[in-house]
């Protein structure tokens, strides 16, 4: 058995230094994904740098001149974030996305940073006895010809059809969230929409982060459509299952006309998918089922499906329409 060193750094800077100096090092958050990967033989780090006790566990409001927002430390547990009063009142889609994920126990353990960086649940990625370009570059993709129910329909490549699994990421990408990263050259801010990457010819990389990049917080703007928002997840059983597809949506109507709308999808791509084209098609129009279906169709114009995941485009059309129309009804209700 390989040996594994364990380090608990005192500060974020110490953590970054430790990983930068040690090529075989990985950060450990709540461990609910990484510990599983150690057991499955998917990850074989030589050093674990445990960041779960770093003081990155505050939820606080900020105002950076361009507007107010909520800064969530990387170590805030999924359960605590979902229960936070401001998240429940101002960012219901975030609370809903978190509560639709995993189980009560796992949400108590899982961190905000670890959640965004969890790896795909593609069955072949998780089974080291099968070829997988993400796990073992160049070995091939077993999912393309194999079990395809969860496969991506947008942005996939001939090398990888895996989907990104996080529910939280889908909600946050809809809100123009920024990820605060501490790297070898200091702190920087990365739009969440640019954090994850499409597989192209290198599926082994899920994100644009360097190994030593430590996520220290996420910043969620509290501007525009956030309050009238929700997250809808379709899955094979009612609870404790990953998404077939999911829809994060936020809406603002002015006299029945869409003045702000956010749509993001889970279960469709290697990234949490912001449906910007669909959003643009809806702005300035009345929100009808027909308009939504057309907007979704436009977003899906390059979708590629196989027999096993051909259910996804119609499911997305229905779920997106249902979710937005429900928000519209809620909006009418509240303005009465």
């Amino acid at each position: 058995m390989r040996t594994l060193e364990y380090l608990r750094p005192a500060t974020p800077a110490d953590a970054v230094r430790a990983v930068a100096e040690h090529p075989g090092a990985r950060y450990l958050g709540g461990g609910t994904n990484l510990v599983d990967h150690l057991k499955l033989g998917i990850a074989a780090p030589e050093l674990l740098v445990d960041v779960s006790r770093l003081p990155l566990d505050e939820v606080e409001t900020y105002d950076d001149g361009s507007g107010a927002g909520l800064r969530v430390g990387a170590n805030v547990r999924n359960s605590d974030l979902a229960a936070h009063p401001l998240v429940r009142s101002e960012l219901p889609l975030v609370a809903r996305a978190l509560l639709a994920g995993a189980s009560g126990q796992i949400r108590n353990q899982a961190t905000t940073g670890g959640n965004l960086l969890q790896r795909t649940r593609c069955v072949y990625f998780q089974d080291p006895t099968t070829p997988c370009n993400k796990r073992e570059p160049g070995s091939g993709c077993s999912a393309i010809e194999g079990y395809g129910r969860y496969n991506a329909i947008l942005g996939a490549s001939p090398d990888c059809v895996a989907t990104h699994p996080s529910d939280l990421a889908v909600a946050l990408v809809a809100l123009d969230t920024t990820v605060v990263v501490l790297g070898a050259d200091g702190e920087r801010r990365v739009p969440l929409e640019e954090l994850h990457r499409l597989p192209a010819d290198d599926p082994s990389r899920d994100t644009r982060l360097a190994p030593e990049d430590l996520v220290t917080a996420v910043e969620i703007p509290l501007a525009g459509a956030t309050k009238l928002s929700t997250y809808r997840k379709v899955r094979d059983r009612a609870s404790y299952a990953f998404a077939l597809v999911s829809v994060a949506a936020a809406l603002h109507l002015t006299e029945g006309i869409v003045t702000d709308v956010r749509i993001a999808w889970g279960g469709v791509a290697h990234v949490p998918w912001r449906a910007r084209r669909a959003e643009a098609a809806l702005i300035g129009h009345a929100l009808t089922e027909q308009a939504i279906r057309e907007a979704v169709g436009d977003e899906l114009r390059h979708a590629e499906t196989s027999e096993q995941n051909a259910y996804k485009p119609p499911m997305l059309r229905r779920t997106t329409a249902h979710t937005l129309l429900q928000l519209a009804a809620q909006s009418r209700e509240e303005s009465r």
């Binding site: 040996t3 594994l4 364990y6 608990r8 510990v35 429940r88 639709a100």
Partner: protein, 172 residues
């Protein structure tokens, strides 16, 4: 690599040397002979390894022991206080007895720890996936209990008894 860690388990201070790869579940069961938490799937999917860690429900199979140095752990054995020889059961345990909340009993230590966690979360106003009003205080309806307990599987299908037990304990 070995590391020495300290845990408080069911009220007793324990010191144990563990390999850095050892999970909390294996440290408890194999090194400390604390066998209340059970190994079902070992991958976070069944809940049978659930304990209360620093007061909150937590899986022990997806946790490294070294990462929890200093933790205070309550297993199903320690719920009643006074350890395995306690002569009185915790209300949640009594409710499982009253309602036949088990058959083989393998998932039960995880179920009762999880249920204790659920009751606490509800008391603190935490919403769930099925809570209609995110801002209101949740009512522990049957749907709420089912959703909140969904991280604990029961191969024997004792779910009706488990549901009734949690309902009783919530009213207690």
């Amino acid at each position: 690599m070995d590391e020495t860690i300290r845990l408080t388990v069911d009220g007793a201070e324990r010191t144990v040397e563990v390999d850095t790869r050892t999970t909390l579940l294996d440290a408890l069961r194999e090194r400390l002979e604390v066998t209340a938490p059970k190994k079902g799937c070992d991958h976070g999917q069944c809940g049978s390894c659930t304990v209360l860690l620093n007061g909150r429900r937590h899986l022990t199979c997806l946790a490294l022991a070294v990462a929890h140095d200093g933790a205070e752990i309550t297993t199903a054995d320690g719920l009643a206080g006074g350890g395995p020889s306690a002569d009185r059961l915790h209300p949640v345990q009594q409710a499982f007895l009253d309602h036949d909340g088990y058959q083989c009993g393998y998932c039960t230590p995880g179920q009762v720890c999880s249920a204790v966690g659920v009751l606490d979360e509800v008391k603190n106003g935490h919403p769930s996936h099925v809570t209609a009003d995110l801002e209101g205080d949740p009512d522990l309806t049957d749907d709420e209990i089912r959703e909140r307990m969904s991280g604990n599987l029961c191969r024997c299908g004792a779910y009706p008894g488990i549901l009734a037990a949690v309902r009783q304990a919530a009213g207690a």
